[in-house]
């Protein structure tokens, strides 16, 4: 098997596993961030051998709970669609990951290996197409539940998503025009380098209006606050009212995967994707050994700082608990210390890297960068949720049709005009 044949499979695997592995992190973050914003501590009680990881273990507990709960199917539902709903809810968002470039293509002795699962010349349109399929999940689930409330939720959801798809599509046009391509790879490449010498050449700065519209629309598309009218637990009760156990969990997970996917698309389109600010691929590849060293140093530093923090934490724990939980900080601190030491030791053995190795290191750095950007945008999703109140339905529709779409059209016009006047066509 040649590298060319293996890499796509690996990439598909990564594209599928990346959001799935981020899922528990997201759930944890959602709870923890919401708690902190509301001056609470959030989840912190589930433990394995005293290890709680600040509540991450709750994700496991949740899974166990959801899987062991009774699976209920209401009477007189359309079973096929009832199952199809959660299935689509989980897998449709997963697909959009396939097209995100995770790092610059490897160029191993002439063979170019794109580091993404699927390469399509209509890239961005694919994302839009896949996103539009998300609505089926909601609609089928809602309709199949044989319940007026879920149906209402479903209808609202369908109308909302179709409406905002328009704005979404139109807001992206600006970036496409700037990058002169629909291909996400091209769009990311175009965001390398700097703007006016000090800003990263991100579309965020080139397309601020487009970004805003995109952001609002992507919130609506993922049914997140302040547009979570589909769920609307305080009024109509959402489309997944009749779901329980794992089927509910699939909706639940689907929502977070959609957020991660949306974050990835946002990062790719507007935050320079895998691009490390100021440092383009060529520069990084040229200094790959230095990059590795810096990485190890910073990793070591982070580990040592964490170890120190855990030491302090240990004191608090021993004051509070009298069981095995009090040992958690010490164990984690030790681990951090070991990891830090490992980084230091590794630093001692770093030697100039070969070309291929350098490229892999750079790819890793770029993937990390993308990951960080995804997490930042995801954090923003959560942050917004605990800041803004929910929209009224007519406000939602008014915003979509009367504000965002005209603004998006204006954005296209302005971008076009600028492009024409700057002579970049």
């Amino acid at each position: 098997m040649s590298v060319e044949t293996v890499v796509p499979f690996v990439m598909v695997l990564i594209a599928a596993l990346l959001p799935l592995s981020l899922l528990p992190v997201m759930i944890w973050a959602e709870r923890k961030v919401s708690a902190f914003i509301q001056d609470r501590t959030g989840p912190n009680r589930a433990e394995i051998l005293g290890i709680r990881l600040g509540g991450v273990i709750h994700a496991i507990a949740d899974v166990v709970k959801l899987m062991s709960k009774e699976e209920m199917t209401p009477a007189r539902v359309n079973r096929f669609y009832f199952v199809l709903g959660p299935f689509l809810a989980l897998f449709v968002p997963l697909v959009s990951f396939a097209i995100i470039p995770l790092a610059d293509s490897l160029n191993l002795g002439g063979t170019v290996i794109p580091l993404r699962a699927v390469t399509l010349n209509v890239g961005i349109l694919f994302v839009l197409a896949v996103t539009s399929f998300h609505v089926y999940a909601v609609v089928f689930g809602a309709w199949a539940s044989n319940n007026s409330f879920t149906l209402l939720g479903g209808l609202r959801s369908a109308a909302q998503m179709i409406s905002y798809e328009l704005g979404l599509g139109l807001s992206v046009v600006g970036t496409v025009m700037v990058a002169q391509s629909l291909d996400l790879g091209r769009i990311v490449e175009h965001q390398g380098g700097t703007l006016l010498g000090f800003l990263p050449a991100w579309n965020l700065f080139l397309q601020p209006l487009g970004f805003l519209i995109f952001l609002v629309c992507i919130f609506a598309e993922t049914n997140r606050n302040p547009f979570d009218l589909t769920e609307g637990e305080s009024e109509i009760v959402g489309y997944h009212l009749e779901y329980s156990s794992m089927k509910f969990a699939m909706f639940f997970m689907g929502e977070y995967i959609a957020i991660i996917g949306a974050s990835a698309v946002t990062a790719t389109l507007f935050f320079g994707g895998y691009q490390v600010p100021y440092l383009d691929t060529d520069f990084l590849r040229a200094h790959s050994t230095g990059v590795l060293r810096v990485m190890l140093v910073s990793m070591g530093a982070i580990c040592f700082v964490l170890a120190l923090l855990y030491r302090r934490y240990h004191r608090r724990l021993t004051a509070l608990y009298h069981d095995r939980r009090r040992n958690e900080a010490r164990m984690l601190g030790g681990m951090m210390l070991l990891m830090g030491l490992a980084a230091v030791v590794a630093l001692l053995f770093v030697s100039p890297l070969p070309e291929a190795g350098g490229q892999v290191v750079v790819a890793a750095v770029q993937m990390t960068t993308l990951l960080v950007k995804i997490l930042v945008v995801s954090f923003f999703f959560i942050w917004i949720r605990w800041t803004l109140p929910r929209f009224r339905y007519d406000q939602l529709m008014g915003l979509g049709w009367k504000v965002l779409i005209p603004l998006a059209l204006l954005n296209i016009f302005l971008t076009g005009a600028l492009l024409v006047f700057s002579g970049r066509t």
């Binding site: 349109l125 539009s132 089926y136 149906l151 479903g154």
Partner: protein, 164 residues
């Protein structure tokens, strides 16, 4: 690889088309149709008509069918009514006769033409290429279609009003 894809997609397309027509539950029909449309989109992809592929997904599967399903749910037909509106024997018979006639007609026409050229793999149906043609040779039809869409939007809004 391509051929396998083709067969799979065409079988799915035809099968789901049959289901579309035969299912009494309109939502089932709609879902089948969606599957069919996705399959056809796949067929477009095998023809390397990438733009069509994505347009098919985006417009047909993503928008039109959602609209159809939306309306189906809105009307929320009762089970009994759905059954009453299912296929009926005589109609199927008559329409099948017509269908057979059409197929025979076309088969005969094709046999007269003497075969087709093989598919040209070099033709790239990417968005860029299609756009170039549309905005050059076909710019007037394009504008006409956009006016048509506008008219349709206005028409739908008027139809959707309560008083109508």
């Amino acid at each position: 690889m391509e051929s396998v894809l083709f067969w799979i997609l065409s079988v799915v397309a035809v099968a789901s088309a049959v289901l579309t027509v035969s299912r009494s539950n309109p939502l089932a029909s709609a879902l089948s149709l969606t599957v069919c449309l996705v399959a056809v989109a796949g067929l477009f992809a095998t023809l390397s008509a990438h733009f069509l592929f994505i347009i098919q997904l985006l417009v047909y599967a993503g928008a039109v069918m959602v609209l159809v399903i939306y309306v189906i749910m809105l009307l929320n037909l009762k089970e009994r009514e759905m059954k009453a509106l299912g296929l009926s024997g005589p109609r199927v018979f008559v329409s099948s006769l017509v269908a057979v006639f059409v197929v025979a007609l076309l088969a005969r026409a094709q046999s007269g033409s003497g075969g087709f050229d093989p598919v040209s793999p070099v033709l790239d149906g990417s968005a860029r290429r299609v756009a170039e043609i549309i905005f050059t040779s076909y710019v007037y039809p394009f504008e006409v279609v956009s006016i048509l869409l506008l008219a349709a939007v206005v028409g739908v809004v008027v139809l959707g009003m309560k008083k109508f």
